[in-house]
Amino acid sequence: MAGPLSGTATERTEAATPPVAAPAPRRAAAAALGAGVVLAKRALMLAVLLAAVFAAVELLPGDAASATSDRGESAADAAARRRLLGLDRPVWERFLDWMTALPTGDLGTSARGEHVTDLLSAPFPNTLLLGGTAFAATLATALALGCWAALRPGGPVDRIVNVTSGITLALPEFVVSVGLLLPLSLWTGWLPAVTLTAPDGAPASWTMLVMPVLALTVPQAGWNARIVRGALADQAGAPHVSAARLDGLSPRRVLLRHALPGAWPAIATGAATSTGMLLGGAVVVETLFNYPGLGTVLAGAVSDRDTPVIAGVVACTGAVISLVLLCADVIRARTLGARP
């Protein structure tokens, strides 16, 4: 990903400006330029991704007209629908049309004649809620476990965290889901097995979020705990951390005040890459728990060869991932830029 790359770009602009002498307006202008470059890169990346989506759907066998047709529909009907959906035009032309409408917030029309924005208006916030909660839970768990393990390197906690995080990060979401579903719902009845939808389109009860969030969190928390632990281990050897330790500060204080700040860039980048995994895993988890999110829309749209819907989902999730990556870049830039 471009995360680290653009991070260094920002860093370089900052480094190029003499830290003391430069007047504030020029520094601000340089920072704004740097941010602009990063944003432009992200936008370009998203455009390339969307082009790839259009191309990929084109390569799938069949098209939206045939995939959504009725058995018994005549060839003429199918051809008429193909024209109606614009499928008789070259793919790049459809892509350009769709892209030029995008800035106005128009995501096009689905193969079944609905506005894609309407199709995504309820599922997208639901997926953000699921993904956001899972992201927060992942970060909290990973930080807690990573720090706890780092307090006594090589101690029992460190070893247990090391082994369990290694196992959980390798677990696919559906295995975790089934593993949670049996004991927590079907055997004990503690938690609802699936998500039912309230009249407003959101999950009917917060308890229905618990298992989907856990299913997403467990593998990602394992992955991030290792990153936190690794980053803290790197920092442990840094001169200022050693100095703090030699000064006789408590291990806790050394960890939280001296080692952790330096570990932030690595942790932020790790967490940012998790966003993609969380949203990807949501496709599986949402189906298993009947969660009314983007995953179910995407799965249906792929089997319908419904390019505008697929591209709409990709655009929404792509925007979220870009935003999180941008946050990670900012954290990196601030942390690295703060030190000479």
Binding site: S66, V194, V297, S303
Partner: protein, 516 residues
């Protein structure tokens, strides 16, 4: 879940009628499952929570549109009435139309509407409403297959309560065709109002959101008393999630959940397993017009090669019945007396040798994964054929590609029909020149039997013609029908009087009630 959209159109079911069932001494016809035999008297009240399969991207609210989702069809079928509905004893029973009468030549059919039928807003249902709705249905892209043989201009009103349909050809089964998607809306309902348009059905729409809905009882339904206060429909993307919701007590009925989920729930005592026999036919189609299967001896050999019991056991997990190469096994007119074909490899080899069938070649059997078991049936058949020295290679195609390239054209492919309750409806696809003649079949004897059957006003002559038609189908047609799948629902222990009809008979939930 792709299969549901195709089945939506072709399932022979539709919505049933409490009205007529009750009127003609209902209880004999009542659809009840074994577990509720202790039944008791229906109790008023309660909310039935139903799970139905569907995909978020495919939701639709138009009763005349392409209902890809079972959940959408279920909701539409509870809010809007069709003219007729499938029945248990009679193939076709009344719904919004209480009676129908053909002209002598079986071309003109007059449907009389139910007395006192009203829309949910209180306005009476008139023949004009029905005519407008049927014409709207007919003018959809797939209208010709939804209401075959009746042109839009030949649907007219005669007075306030009679609708006249004039068929292009004589058709004794025309009322059967009005069972599935002839949903009635108010005349001139604008397109944007369709999702909230009042229907005439047993339930009124309370809310609909992203495929999920709540329906409340229509106290003034023309079809009789409805027991439930409300029905809540939850759409499920996966059958397994739906089964989990039932096992976890979050829903009361998992509609058409399939054999895999049924197996995992079979051991639970508090769960009713409802089998609706004759739900779906899964035939293999052999092209008769040309190609390697044009010789009738080759086709018979293939029919002798298959081990039908093994197919039902392995492909359908035992939830099904062995079939005898005749489509329409759930039809009361189904010829049960035809000799049952069993596996006979020696005879098959002999027939193949006589026909000069090239055993050195490998034959492709094209299949899809549109319905559970379909691709598995192809693979298992290939194994059976190998034992007779016939090399069959299974080729899986994506659904869209299959309907474009293989269906109606291929020489050997799997197929499925969500309707299995009319011998003659399916036979219509086999007559010479039929638009959906899947095997490219043309048989003068069959054509004449078909015409006799559809044109016969006399019951006995019709029965004779139907018997002959099925005999020819059994002996010579391009269909190898090894078995018929059951429809399988799961229900909680409190649910009573669940529908037992195959196909879309499963949406007939207006008689259901909840025990205490």
């Amino acid at each position: 879940m792709i299969w549901t959209r195709r089945q939506a159109l072709w399932a022979g079911g539709g919505i049933g009628t409490a009205a007529l069932l009750t009127a003609c001494g209902g209880d004999k016809d009542a659809a009840s499952s074994p577990a509720d035999s202790s039944g008791g008297t229906p109790r008023k009240g309660g909310t039935l929570r139903v799970g139905a399969l569907g995909r978020a991207s495919a939701t639709t609210r138009d009763p005349h549109g392409n209902q890809g989702n079972e959940s959408d069809y279920l909701i539409i079928a509870l809010v809007h009435d069709t003219l007729t509905a499938p029945g248990l004893k009679d193939n076709t029973v009344g719904r919004l139309a209480t009676s129908w009468k053909p002209s002598g030549d079986l071309k003109t059919w007059r449907f009389t509407l139910a007395k006192g039928a009203t829309f949910h807003d209180g306005s009476p249902v008139t023949a004009d409403d029905v005519v407008w709705s049927l014409r709207r249905l007919r003018n959809t892209p797939a209208g010709a297959s939804r209401l075959p043989g009746v042109k839009a201009e030949n649907i007219t009103a005669d007075g306030k309560d009679t609708v006249v349909l004039v068929s292009d050809d004589a058709n004794a089964e025309l009322p059967l065709l009005t069972r599935l998607s002839t949903f009635v809306l108010k005349k001139d309902t604008p397109g944007k109002d369709i999702p909230k348009a009042p229907g005439t059905g047993p339930f009124k729409l309370d809310w609909f959101r992203g495929g999920n809905a709540r329906l409340v009882r229509n106290d003034t339904w023309h079809g009789g008393r409805v027991h439930l206060d409300a029905i809540e429909v939850t759409m499920f993307e996966s059958p397994q999630a739906m089964a989990n919701a039932l096992l976890g007590g979050q829903i009361d009925l998992a509609s058409n959940v399939g054999p895999v989920a049924a197996r995992s729930a079979a051991s639970r005592k508090d769960v009713q397993l409802v089998r609706r026999p004759g739900d779906m036919a899964l035939p293999l189609v052999m092209r008769t017009a040309d190609g390697p299967f044009a010789d009738v001896r080759v086709r018979e050999a293939m029919k002798l090669v298959v081990d039908r019991e093994a197919m039902v056991e392995q492909v359908l997990s035992g939830y099904g019945t062995v079939a005898n190469d005749v489509l329409g096994t759930a039809d009361p007119a189904y010829a049960k007396d035809l000799p049952r074909r069993t596996r006979d490899l020696a005879k098959a080899r002999k027939l193949l040798a006589e026909a000069g069938f090239d055993l050195s070649r490998t034959y492709e059997l094209v299949t899809t994964e549109d319905v559970p078991g379909l691709a598995e049936s192809a693979t298992l058949f290939a194994n059976h054929a190998r034992e007779a020295g016939v090399k069959v290679k299974v080729v899986k195609q994506e659904s869209g590609a299959f309907y474009e390239k293989t269906w109606l054209k291929g020489s050997f492919y799997t197929n499925y029909w969500g309707t299995n309750d009319s011998v003659i409806f399916l036979a219509a696809k086999m007559i010479t020149g039929a638009g959906q003649n899947e095997a490219g079949w043309s048989d003068p004897g069959f054509d004449s039997a078909y015409r006799k059957a559809v044109g016969a006003a006399d019951e006995k002559a019709r029965a004779t013609a139907l018997r002959e038609l099925q005999r020819i189908e059994h002996d010579r047609s391009g269909y190898l029908l090894w078995g018929v799948a059951d429809g399988i629902d799961l229900a909680g222990s409190k649910v009573r009087d669940l529908p037992k009809l195959p196909g879309y008979g499963r949406v007939q939930l207006e008689r259901v009630w909840l025990a205490r």
